[in-house]
């Protein structure tokens, strides 16, 4: 699916990967924390090739990441509070009082204060995303991966999720990688935009440069044209 991806992510900035459905954006995202391994090539995090790490080292490396999955991937046998507390209970020596304080803090930051007792099945799509974001941020990660954070949400909710991502990025200073095809809304939170097509990265620019790019692939995507270098089935 990926035919030669060369992409660098700037520390402390948000890079958004855009492209057509099925072009491999999520596959690429899953390579970044070694959920998938490439047939060839490297995935370098601060100079370390994470595809060559042993299991213990890989798990330590993954501790630097937070991930917001497309459908939030909340553990549905647990309440939202327990979902957000889960990595703290499993990976830290914090006591329950400290955990509760941190969890409530994160839930408040994503606008879910007082909702910790609910189960994922009782939440709306937007609330699930926000819970997933709270869980992704609870370990204070250096890198946060967002897999189509606003897909399936209405425009107002989508905008509020984008604002939440931007706000939390400013608060925590993480390096963000967002996979999305909801343009132009996602440009508002992006420092860089990478266009993916035909298994490769076609262009990496700032949002303003991207929108005025003369690259025919970018032009076809931005304007939603069926005719062009991107083959539509």
């Amino acid at each position: 699916m990926l035919k030669g991806v060369n992409l660098e992510f700037t520390t402390g900035k948000i890079t958004t990967i855009v492209g057509t459905s099925g072009c491999g954006k999520t596959v690429l995202l899953k390579h970044l924390n070694a959920l998938l391994l490439p047939d060839r090539g490297q995935v370098l995090v601060d100079g370390t090739d994470i595809t060559k790490l042993r299991q213990k080292e890989l798990y330590e490396m993954r501790g630097r990441f937070g991930v917001l999955f497309q459908a939030a991937a909340l553990l549905d046998s647990m309440t939202i509070f327990d979902n957000v507390a889960f990595p703290l209970r499993e990976k830290t020596a914090m006591n329950e009082t400290q955990i509760a304080k941190k969890v409530e803090e994160r839930l408040e930051q994503v606008g879910l204060e007082g909702m910790g007792y609910k189960y994922p099945g009782e939440l709306s799509g937007g609330m699930k995303k926000r819970s997933g974001l709270a869980r992704a941020l609870v370990m204070d990660p250096e890198i946060v991966l967002f897999d189509e954070p606003t897909t399936g949400l209405d425009p107002i909710l989508g905008a509020s999720i984008h604002q939440l991502i931007a706000r939390t990025q400013k608060t925590f200073g993480f390096t963000g990688v967002v996979v999305s095809h909801t343009i132009p809304q996602v440009f508002e939170i992006s420092d860089y935009v990478a266009m993916m097509a035909n298994g490769m990265i076609e262009e990496v620019k700032t949002p303003k440069e991207f929108q005025s790019s003369q690259n025919p692939v970018v032009q076809q995507f931005i304007h939603g044209q069926t005719e062009g270098p991107i083959q539509v089935l």
Partner: protein
């Protein structure tokens, strides 16, 4: 002809690959089970799911199995004027064979399929990926506690199946068909030896192992879609049934 050979070869290689993956999965789960920290609360939770939640179906099936044994045993033994040996017949049949095998079948259908479905759904909704992303080994968290719980819960369920089955046979044999109560229990006492109980215990432990291993494997590796989950559930039940019967044969041939 070549096509047939090719397909047979592909099928064989696929099955060998699957067996290898299952074995590696098992080794990983067992090694992680003994690596600290121990997930005691999870193990207890799964003992409840496998043991307590299966209790009613195991007791019911044990009771009716015993009653059927009472009927079948009586009408078979009476041909040899040996109906007074009904107690031995029921106890030996249940302790050695029917108790472990039928309770394993009940647990496979009730809990094993649910286990495969739960893990398959977790795979389909990226919850397992989420665990990996949180640097938590999902095999240690999801699979190892279930296997340990299966090893603990199955022999207990089998024991209860046996007790209820013996009582069911007693109700029919003594209560309905007129076998002497004294000869029922004295026959049982004289016939049943430690090896009979031990072989049943060993079978039940190994069946608990097979059920949890197979069902967890199938669920964990289910294709991430709705049909994948149902396929994993069906395959886990069928494979568990087959392995239980095959392993039962091997254990019986060794222990008799």
């Amino acid at each position: 002809m070549l096509f047939l050979l090719s397909r047979t070869g592909q099928f064989t290689l696929k099955q060998l690959s699957e067996m290898g993956k299952m074995f590696l999965f098992l080794v990983s789960a067992l090694l992680l089970a003994f690596r600290p920290p121990a997930k005691i609360s999870l193990i207890i939770h799964h003992i409840k799911t496998i043991g307590v939640d299966s209790l009613s179906v195991v007791l019911l099936s044990g009771f009716f199995t015993g009653m059927v044994m009472g009927f079948q045993g009586y009408y078979s033994l009476i041909k040899f004027n040996a109906e007074s040996r009904l107690g031995s017949f029921a106890a030996l049949g249940l302790l050695r064979e029917l108790g472990p095998v039928l309770s394993a079948f009940m647990v496979t259908g009730r809990t094993g399929s649910a286990m495969a479905a739960e893990l398959g759904t977790m795979r389909a909704t990226e919850q397992i990926d989420a665990l990996y992303s949180m640097a938590i080994n999902p095999i240690k968290y999801l699979v190892s506690p279930r296997i340990i719980a299966g090893l603990i819960a199955m022999p207990l369920l089998t024991a209860l199946f046996d007790v209820v089955g013996i009582y069911g046979a007693y109700l029919i044999g003594v209560g309905l068909l007129g076998v002497s109560s004294g000869s029922y229990f004295s026959g049982m006492e004289s016939s049943v030896v430690f090896n009979d109980v031990y072989s049943g215990f060993l079978k039940s432990v190994s069946f608990g192992f097979i059920i949890t291993w197979v069902c967890c494997y199938k669920g964990f590796h289910a294709p991430p879609m709705a049909t994948g989950v149902s396929q994993a559930t069906t395959e886990s039940v069928v494979l568990s049934f087959v392995l239980i019967l095959v392993w039962d044969y091997f254990l019986t041939s060794i222990m008799l």
